[in-house]
Amino acid sequence: MRPIATTRSASGMPTGLLAVWWVVASEIVIFGGLLASYLMYRLSHDSWSEQAANTNTAIGATNTFVLLTSSFLAVSAHAAAEKGDGKKAARYLWYTIGGAMTFVAIKSFEWYTEITHGFTITSNTFWSFYYTAAGIHALHVIAGAFIMAIVAREAAKGLELHRVELIGIYWHFVDIVWIFLFPLLYIAK
């Protein structure tokens, strides 16, 4: 049973929504600290452009496309949930999870290729940042997909439909982090 506290909304915003925004805020500063550190290093190490030239921009772009598409699917799930169609919302959430899995599969292939070509996390500080930032991001993708699966199972039964929006917000955040990572790690040479 939920406490009455959870059902109140003195700020005018539903409690779950408010909490998700605070989660996103706390994540922004984590990635913010990491990327700010990377930028400071990058600006003082011109030689890193040679290392960055070895990243595969085509694969990065493909993954960007996959994530953006999955975000669109998450929006569709939200639209269905707003109309009260739990089954449709769940179906779109499963499509989104499909996008997440595709992203992780492509990322694994990419890393496998790079590691077998000798670009490992200890090769150079650029590569350390590359694997650390993208790795933490990939963990967020996987965690988001897990949570989404839980939400989708409930939504299929028509339960807790407001959670479709909450996981959607988180998913957009994960997407936006990648929008920062892609130019910083792949495009900037």
């Binding site: 049973m1 109140r8 805020a25 706390s26 984590i30 600290g33």
Partner: protein
């Protein structure tokens, strides 16, 4: 709205709590905010005993170098380093944070905003469980090969990153893991605190009707959340440097050890305010009740606290004046550091103005609250010396710094906690603490505290550096006069630790045998005093409604000198 619905939970016999509940599910796996608060408080106190014992061991080594310390034995240099490192880490992350923010936050937020629980009770329980694991991980670092980490609580690389320097390959990583887990626990807890205070206030409670301690805990939680992110990123980088052999902080391979200092202090300095603000809030509750006066300039205190929070993000590099940062940058950080003393001084003046002309009752909680104001003042004033880059070049890493921040953290973590516990004890356990024993403990602790750290100020100005195992190796510091001061500080510490047994006796004895407190023994206004003592599961049979601000004491239109927030008139 939910408030109009009668409370379904019959106090004490609710859906969560059946009569036949065992000890484990009632006290260890409960989702009740009050039980979780107690878990945080008792874990924090246990860690305080451990952290206090550590300070006893290394102070004995400094007073009587090379001699066997009772209850410990001979202190080796590695022991010494691990003890000072973990003393600092434990006192800040496993004592000040869990007690001031998590315990008081969990206990007070729902009770003071008029809710039946936190908004996410299961998340709350998870937060404590992660916190408990983090404490166990930290303590386990003493048992692994090489022993506990000895690279100081600031964990600067390359000392912390390379096991050939710190000689604690497993201890250093366990230390880092424990700190990271603790951060996760407090992020979860913080989201709960902020959301609960924002969303589940009682009907009628407007923003300026929220008691100051709740505001302070919320602002502190936001500060923590915003400042800790970069350090989490830094901790991952340091962990990879330790375990995978990356070179984020290794200058030989393209890294920069100063980056860690920036990431650490970008968190580390706001962290001071994270623990300070709740203590300031606790003091506000106590001085208004025991001066029977309205809090002077409520809105000013609140806006000042927000201003302090914002400013606290701009001062971090004053910890790095001698780390080789650009002197022009040092000027800027000197300026911001001196600026931040203004809002804090303002709070002090506001509190003095609150006391002025009040009918002051010198109960034990009031003594602690007054001591907080006086002792923190010393910490604040000595901070100005260190904030000025010119003076700091001389004082950096001396015992002057050490004495300065103990004059801030002791008032915060120890005085603030004793103030809060003695004030809310009747609510927490339904019985009164013994006031005479409380005062004996108060005076014993306060006097001996000053006798520990005033000698350390003197030693610091004499040039005594921190983190040195044995000063006998330094002829200029090995003089009998300076050694006398070290012995005085150590003896005062032993006296202070001894006085804590008075408190412990009082605490346990009062919990079971103190006189019954009733709902509102202090005649206070805030909502928690309208609940039973101790409050049942769900807090009130019917949740309260708020009609006025929290500090309406000695109101001219009213015969009684207090006017509880929940009374219609």
């Amino acid at each position: 709205m939910a408030e109009s619905i009668p409370h379904e939970v019959d106090p004490g016999h609710g859906d969560h709590h059946h009569e036949d509940q065992g000890f484990v599910s009632k006290y260890l796996l409960s989702t009740d905010h009050k039980i979780i608060a107690m878990q945080y408080m008792f874990t924090g106190m246990l860690m305080a005993v451990i952290g206090g014992f550590m300070s006893y061991v290394f102070r004995m080594q400094l007073a009587f170098p090379g001699e066997s310390v009772p209850l410990w034995g001979i202190v080796t240099p590695a022991n010494y380093n691990a003890l000072i490192t973990n003393h600092g880490t434990i006192m800040i992350f496993w004592v000040a944070m869990p007690v001031l923010i998590a315990a008081f936050g969990n206990y007070l937020i729902p009770l003071m905003v008029g809710a039946d629980d936190m908004v996410f009770p299961k998340l709350n329980r998870l937060s404590y469980q992660i916190f408990l694991i983090s404490a166990l991980v930290l303590l386990s670092s003493y048992l692994v090969e090489g022993g506990g980490f000895g690279g100081a609580w600031t964990s600067y690389p390359p000392l912390s990153a390379k096991s050939q320097y710190n000689l604690t390959p497993a201890g250093a990583s366990l230390w880092l893991l424990a700190v990271a887990l603790e951060f996760v626990a407090f992020l979860l807890g913080g989201i709960n605190f902020i959301t609960t205070a924002m969303n589940s206030r009682a009907p009628g409670m407007k923003l300026y009707d929220i008691p100051m301690v709740i505001w302070m805990i919320v602002i502190a939680s936001i500060l923590f959340m915003v400042s800790v992110g970069p350090l989490i990123a830094g901790a991952i980088m340091l962990f990879f440097d330790q375990t995978l052999g990356t070179a984020f902080f290794d200058p030989n391979r393209g890294g920069d050890p100063i980056l860690w200092q920036h990431l650490f202090w970008f968190f580390g300095h706001p962290e001071v305010y994270v623990v300070l603000l709740p203590a300031v809030g606790i003091t506000a509750e106590i001085i208004t009740v025991f001066a029977r006066k309205k809090l002077f300039a409520y809105k000013t205190v609140l806006h000042t606290a927000v201003g302090t929070g914002v400013l606290s993000f701009t001062v971090w590099a004053h910890h790095q004046f001698i780390a080789g940062i650009d002197p022009r940058m040092a000027h800027i950080f000197t300026l911001t550091t001196l600026l931040i003393s203004i809002p804090i001084a303002e709070m002090m003046f506001v509190y003095i103005a609150t006391l002025y002309g009040g009918s002051i009752r010198l109960t034990t909680p009031m003594l602690w609250a007054l001591a907080f104001i006086g002792e923190f003042l010393i910490g604040g004033v000595t901070g100005i010396f260190l904030g000025a880059s010119g003076a700091d070049v001389y004082f950096h890493d001396t015992y002057f710094v050490l004495a300065h921040f103990h004059y801030t953290f002791y008032p915060i973590a120890i005085i603030g906690t004793f103030a809060g516990v003695s004030y809310w004890f009747p609510k927490m356990f339904g019985r009164m603490m013994n006031d005479t024993l409380g005062k004996i403990h108060f005076w014993g602790s306060i006097v001996s505290f000053n006798f520990i750290f005033i000698p350390l100020f003197v030693l610091g100005t004499a040039g005594q550096h921190r983190r040195i195992f044995d000063f006998q190796n330094f002829p200029a510091l090995a003089t009998p006069e300076l050694q006398q001061l070290r012995i005085l500080a150590t003896m005062s510490l032993v006296v202070m630790l001894g006085f804590q047994f008075v408190w412990l006796y009082n605490f346990i004895n009062s919990m079971f045998r103190g006189p019954k407190a009733g709902k509102n023994p202090w005649k206070a206004n805030t909502l928690e005093w309208s609940a039973d003592s101790p409050p049942p599961h769900g807090n009130w049979p019917e949740l309260p409604t708020v009609y006025r601000p929290p500090y309406e004491y000695s109101h001219p239109d009213r015969e009684e000198d207090y006017w509880p927030q929940h009374l219609p008139n």
